[in-house]
């Protein structure tokens, strides 16, 4: 399955992914209206330290601790994408407790969580962070070790 | 209007050729008949013929056919020739006057051989000596133009439709083992006899239909090797290229064909390794002599004819066979009119040379 992968070698720490992500999931058609003087609630976050930077977003694990631990059943895997039903979510944050990558955050309301859903719920197509990354530090690829991929690697 | 040599003049054309492999003499009338059929491919601004084996009385002498604008030019040219050649025979070329052929120059014919001492002093081989002399006349003597200089062959050309040109030169009085003919459709010539085809250098003659887009690339390259493209015509440059490749570089006819109508790189990639290596070599070594753009040519040489199309076959050309005779022409009708019952007729592929020689020359021609 195609997932978002990041390569810190090329991350410039420009943080544009965070802005494009927030915009893509804002439901607002203009970036300016979506982001100007508004809190930034990206589902991807850039870590920076000592000249190194990289973006982190949901890895869409095959054995997702967040989904397994979800007390409400709000988190589920749909076609490989870990999605959240914010109608069911009560914001208990067990998923925040579980996620080894720190990729789940409270949403605006504080009563539910928000996380990367690979832009499957907006009109973005390819994930906005990938499209917006100026240096291909974030890519959308299939790196699963499957039989076909193994053959291709050989 | 500027004439050939003063400006580049593209032209469309008709060509035809015939050869008897056994050497059976063919009357010039046959060729006139053939080329006349393609009357519409000419526009009356040039026609011509080349006959091989037509001078059995002087087979070893160079037959110079020369146009003169004036007697002064003739005298200057003859002085030039006198210094360099032994002139065995000289005369006006007999013609049959006609109202269809006008503005005639003086047309003279000389059977010559190089002066031994001058040839030796020049340190050139005989053919090179002759060709340099011819190029020198054509470049330097105003009003003199040598349009044929091979052995046992001759070019006859003039302004007019080719069938009228044939009648004018009384070709029914000549017989040869091979003939080529040309009807010209230039787009903007004022009409100059020298600009008509065939174009010849030594025993190589070319009739050509087409307009090559590589002209200036070819011209500028070939001019580095002692040629001077006075006429700025395709036929002239093709003739020089052929002369250069065959005579100066020692390529075979087939190899020369692979230079001027080189196989595509993509085709070469599918050849067997030896063939591919040869084709790659020829393209790399003579890249500037690749001729692109449409052409169909018939090359006449001592002992045979070669027909060749450009590699995309952008011009028509058919080949017919009947017994020991092989016919080559722009259109099938030009063959059928002189031989309705052919054993075989086909259209060679672009870049695929058709080489036919006298049986007696099989071993003498480097195919």
């Amino acid at each position: 399955m195609k997932r978002v992968y990041v390569n810190e070698k090329w991350c410039l720490g420009c943080h544009l992914c965070e802005y494009y992500c927030t915009f893509a999931n804002s439901g607002v058609s203009s970036m300016v209206n979506a982001l100007k003087d508004k809190p930034l609630r990206p589902r991807i976050r850039v870590e920076e330290h000592d000249g190194i930077s990289f973006a982190v977003s949901c890895r869409h694990c095959k054995e997702p601790l967040c989904v397994k631990g979800c007390i409400t059943g709000a988190l589920s895997v749909k076609n490989g994408v870990i999605t959240v039903d914010s109608n069911k979510c009560v914001g208990c944050y067990t998923c925040i407790l579980s996620c080894p990558y720190g990729c789940i955050s409270p949403d605006d309301s504080g009563h539910a969580i928000s996380k990367c859903e690979l832009c499957t719920k907006n009109a973005c197509g390819e994930p906005a962070c990938v499209k917006g990354c100026p240096n291909q530090a974030i890519v959308y690829e299939d790196r699963d070790v499957t039989d076909t991929n193994k053959e291709a690697a050989v | 209007m500027l004439r050939e040599g003063e400006i580049r003049i593209p032209s469309g054309c008709a060509i035809s050729g015939v050869i008897s492999k056994s050497g059976t003499p063919i009357n010039g009338r046959e060729m006139i008949k053939s080329i006349a059929t393609m009357h519409d491919r000419s526009n009356g601004l040039g026609g011509g013929f080349a006959g091989y084996g037509i001078y059995p009385q002087y087979p070893d002498l160079y037959a110079f056919h020369v146009f003169y604008d004036s007697n002064a030019a003739r005298e200057e040219c003859e002085r030039f020739l006198d210094k360099r050649f032994d002139i065995i025979n000289l005369s006006k070329i007999p013609v049959r006057k006609s109202d269809k052929i006008t503005s005639e120059p003086l047309i003279w014919r000389y059977f010559v051989e190089p002066l031994k001492t001058r040839l030796k002093d020049s340190k050139l081989d005989e053919k090179e000596y002759v060709s340099r002399c011819v190029i020198s006349i054509n470049s330097n003597i105003e009003g003199a133009y040598v349009f044929s200089c091979g052995k046992n062959m001759g070019v006859f050309k003039a302004l007019g439709y080719p069938e009228d040109v044939g009648e004018y030169f009384r070709l029914d009085e000549y017989e040869g083992y091979a003939w080529t003919a040309h009807g010209r459709y230039p787009t903007n010539t004022p009409g100059w006899w020298g600009g008509a085809h065939p174009f010849a250098m030594l025993d190589y003659s070319i009739v050509h239909n087409g307009e090559i887009s590589s002209y200036d690339a070819n011209r500028r390259n070939i001019e580095m090797y002692g040629y001077k493209c006075n006429l700025q015509t395709d036929t002239e440059v093709i003739t020089y290229i052929i002369d250069f490749l065959l005579r100066k570089k020692g390529l075979s006819l087939t190899e020369a064909a692979k230079v001027i109508a080189a196989p595509f790189w993509s085709t070469i990639d599918h050849m067997d390794e030896e063939q591919a290596a040869q084709a790659r070599y020829l393209r790399a070594a003579f890249s500037n002599l690749l001729i692109t753009g449409p052409f169909s040519i018939i090359l006449g040489f001592e002992g045979g004819l070669m027909a060749l199309n450009d590699r995309l076959k952008l011009r028509s050309m058919v080949i017919g066979e009947k017994d020991d005779k092989v016919y080559m022409a722009s259109e099938e009708c030009a063959i059928r009119v002189i031989e309705p019952h052919l054993d075989r007729i086909w259209s060679p592929k672009g870049g695929e040379p058709v080489i036919v020689t006298l049986d007696s020359y099989k071993d003498k021609v480097f195919i």
Binding site: K9, W10, L12, G13, C14, H15, L16, Y19, Y20, F23, M31, V32, L35, K36, G51, G132, P134, N135, Q136, A137 | R8, P10, G12, T187, G210, E211, S213, S214, Y215, D216, A217, N218, R220, N221, E223, M224, Y225, K249, L251, E255, A262, F264, W265, S266, A277, Q278, Y281, R283, A284, A285, F286, S287, N288, L290, I291, T292, G293, P294, L312, L314
Partner: protein, 501 residues
């Protein structure tokens, strides 16, 4: 503080209605022209620091930024232009030689733009490159003097070593040091994928890039940086650099500060030491010395690599080229005065040398007059900007073209002409790791490949229109060219007729 006589050349214009204060402009400006003011809650800027490289403009997600030329004017006149005045102030301030980057910006004639191309109509069919093969493969090098045959009469391969190019374009010399590792990797990978060559420049060959050898031209310049037997044998061809269009007659200087660990290793000089390329090669003071170097290099590379001699286009370029053609070199590269550079003295860049179009035409004509054009390949560079320039160069007589400024542009260069500062915001002309990483070679190489593919398509379209289906039939085919608005002297030198003739 002394009075600063200079006024910022550019103004950063920010549309505050659009600015979302994402600070990407701030983060991406190595000149620190932008900053966020917490108190005001908005982005501010210092125009004096802006070099007009457009990094911020390109990355601004809301298109809130533009850079405009400052409206400031000195009291200038036709003689004392703003530029001239500024330069005087700068020199009065520093006492130094003015340095500039990239090619000659002065309004000299661009002959490419005064030459028109031909196309077929009626008498000769144009050829559709989508339907018929259209060949741009180019072999660069000497043509054999004579045909040799083996005992079976087969032609022997007596070709001198040649460079085979899929299309007649190469990336010209830019050293590792003047440009970044990632820029080199982009060029090397693009050349490999395209089947063309890139050129190491004079900075040696990084060990990571030996694998691109079949598509590499290794350069030997006056500083001889990084030259070893392995280096000479690593590439597909060896180029002796005599001169460069941007600064004919001038050497080079890579400041020690840019000689990092990696560069020191590649150049084979101590870390932190200035890398100084002398103006001449100190073993070439005349043409016969060149011949010796050509043959030394051929010896060292076992006569398996074509040797290129690169010169700047200067006044007597034709005679020099003739000498080079007889020196044993396989290829002559000529660099016109609009060729780029990482740094050159401004006066030299702007006043020395001649346009490549005239140099090419006169060299090609001269070599043909001497009957030695087939003894060498000719490669020209110095601002070949498009497929049309390329076609015109080939028709004037070049075998292939070198491109570098166009290649840099493809990689993101915005021609801010501040290379000498080493703070290239696009990761090209810099060694600062945080800036170098801005050029991801995965992107850079692909953009180079795209550019050359695009040009190749265009060359094929143009050739097809002319009824030519192989690049060799275009080479030197000056009948395909006509001048427009040129004097008869210029037409004579170019060897072309005027449009309408």
């Amino acid at each position: 503080m002394a009075i600063d006589y200079l006024y910022p050349e550019y103004e950063i214009v920010r549309d505050y209605d659009k600015c979302i204060a994402c600070r990407v402009c701030e983060r991406q400006c190595s000149n620190e022209a932008h900053w966020y003011d917490d108190g005001k809650g908005k982005m501010l800027c210092d125009n004096a620091k802006c070099v007009d490289c457009h990094r911020c403009v390109s990355l601004c997600p809301t298109h809130a930024l533009k850079i405009v030329k400052s409206g400031h004017t000195f009291k200038e006149n036709a003689n004392w232009t703003g530029k001239t005045i500024t330069e005087i102030y700068r020199q009065a301030n520093s006492g130094g030689v003015l340095l500039s980057s990239m090619g000659n910006p002065e309004p000299f004639p661009v002959y490419w733009d005064k030459i028109l191309l031909n196309a077929s109509q009626v008498t000769n069919p144009s050829i559709d490159p989508l339907r018929e093969p259209m060949e741009t493969v180019t072999y660069l090098g000497k043509k054999p003097a004579k045909i040799e045959r083996d005992e079976n009469g087969r032609i022997k391969n007596n070709l001198s070593p040649t460079l085979k190019l899929s299309t007649p374009v190469m990336f010209s010399a830019m050293s590792y040091g003047s440009i970044s590792y990632n820029a080199h990797e982009s060029l090397a990978r693009a050349a490999s994928e395209l089947g063309i060559c890139y050129n190491t420049g004079e900075g040696g060959l990084h060990e990571d890039f030996y694998k691109y050898g079949p598509n590499t031209i290794v350069q030997v310049a006056s500083g001889r940086f990084g030259v070893s037997k392995d280096y000479l044998n690593a590439g597909a061809a060896i180029e002796i650099k005599i001169g460069q269009g941007a600064k004919p007659g001038i050497g080079g200087h890579l400041p020690g500060i840019k000689v990092s660990e990696d560069i020191s290793k590649t150049r084979m000089i101590p870390k932190g030491s200035d890398a100084i390329s002398p103006a001449p090669h100190h073993d070439i003071y005349s043409i016969e010395d060149l011949r010796q170097l050509v043959y030394s290099i051929k010896e060292a590379s076992d006569y398996k690599k074509p040797v290129i001699v690169k010169i700047a286009a200067v006044h007597n370029v034709a005679a020099i080229a003739s000498g080079i053609a007889r020196s044993g070199a396989d290829i002559i590269a000529i660099d016109g005065f609009r060729g780029g550079t990482g740094a050159a003295p401004t006066r030299i860049r702007d006043s020395v040398g001649i346009p490549i179009e005239l140099a090419l035409a006169s060299v090609d004509s001269r070599l043909r007059e001497e009957g030695i054009r087939d003894d060498v390949g000719i490669v020209v560079g110095g601002s070949v900007r498009s497929a049309a320039d390329l076609v015109k160069a080939i028709a004037l007589g070049a075998d292939a073209c070198y491109i570098a400024t166009a290649a840099c542009l493809a990689m993101g260069c915005h021609l801010c002409r501040s290379c000498q500062a080493g703070k290239c915001n696009w990761g090209i002309a810099t060694q600062r790791p945080d800036l170098v990483k801005r050029l991801n070679p995965d992107i850079g190489y692909k953009r180079l490949v795209n550019l050359v593919h695009a040009w190749d398509h265009e060359v094929k379209e143009i050739m097809g229109g002319m009824g030519i289906n192989s690049i060799e039939a275009l080479r030197g085919n000056r009948l395909m060219l006509r001048g427009i608005g040129l004097s008869s002297t210029e037409l004579d030198i170019l060897g072309i007729k005027h449009a309408g003739q």
